[in-house]
Symmetry: C2
Subunit: 193 residues, 2 copies
DNA sequence: GTCTATATACGGATAGAC
DNA sequence: GTCTATCCGTATATAGAC
């Protein structure tokens, strides 16, 4: 019914999403997606003209997934500070995957930024980061920290990216948990004035 | 003379190093390396049995590059605190490249960790991080902070990774510079006791 | 040691039957 | 809408002349 109806189309996007995450975009072939879904290779071209179109659909999917996560943070509490603490803990809610495959946005962005051909897709990818940063910025603004809100939002994203990256490379969930707590304390500190 | 003599071999490694950095490992073909060096494709197999062997040589090369950088930090000052501040500023010394291609260790590690086939190479990659973390840990120990040295060293690496990652994705050199200063202040703070 | 020609496999993409 | 067969380019890797 939706604008992008068709159950098969969705199955392709879901499988591609998982595979792009676990193997990377360039290392995922149509055969891989075919194997996962049972849908034959040639059939993909009925739904998507190119591989890059599948990528775009996957990115859209991830955007809405993160939008949902942010909405849930908002619904759990109206306190901006508490929301930021919930946000900080998000990597922990998918800990095993994060340890194994890294950040679903960060690793893909990093991979795509290397291709000059996919600059369009790259622009789309930063949109996911934009959504996160804008949301964090908004919370800081609600706390009356307008002047530093943007910088703090970017700092928060950067700190989480770094933590996830190190935890991923070393397969170190202990570091992920400990450092997440550190970031929470940092948030409590800068919002305590 | 060296264990890995041959000027041609070195030219291949150097070209591969640059290409793996700017395009990524999987997106770099033998033809690309051939175009850059003028050495015909088939000739590579005289020096390396597989593409993965080239990768190993590139990783070795990067390890020694970073070892040199650390040595220079040590030679410039004997004060561990100053050394850590110099270390923190390292991304700025290759700012344009970092903005364009990200961290030479981080992006490659992230890419290779997605392939399960290259787990050997992956292990080698963490060695580069080990070198950096061990060196930072040593400096913190020299400052009498043995109990927290390892954690602080990992925190420092994670913070730099995050900053570089965000600066890379957004092509934001201003953020890189500003945040590097923030990290320096953080170091001054934790070492001021 | 250096280079050309080629083997072999797999990638994305197309054509067209059903 | 679904599926098979296939084109075409490019990838790594090999064989073998020079």
């Amino acid at each position: 019914m939706g604008t992008k109806g068709s159950a098969n189309r969705q199955r392709i996007v879901d499988a591609a999403d998982r595979l792009f995450y676990s193997r990377g975009y360039n290392q995922t072939s149509f055969s891989d997606i075919s194997d996962e879904t049972g849908i034959p290779r040639g059939n993909f071209y009925y739904y998507f003209k190119t591989k890059e179109e599948i990528l775009e659909a996957v990115v859209e999917s991830r955007v809405s997934i993160f939008r949902n996560m942010l909405e849930q943070c908002e619904q759990k509490t109206s306190e901006p500070r508490e929301r930021l603490l919930l946000f900080t803990a998000l990597p922990l809610s998918n800990e095993e995957q994060v340890i194994q495959y890294g950040c679903p946005i960060g690793t893909l962005s990093s991979e795509l930024a290397k291709d000059q051909e996919h600059e369009l897709s790259r622009a789309k990818l930063t949109v996911v980061f934009d959504v996160l940063i804008d949301w964090c910025e908004k919370q800081f603004c609600l706390l009356g920290m307008e002047s530093r809100a943007k910088k703090y939002a970017m700092d928060l994203i950067a700190r989480l990216q770094g933590i996830v990256q190190v935890a991923y490379i070393y397969n170190d969930s202990q570091f992920l948990e400990q450092s997440t707590d550190d970031v929470k304390n940092w948030i409590r500190q800068i919002t305590s004035n």
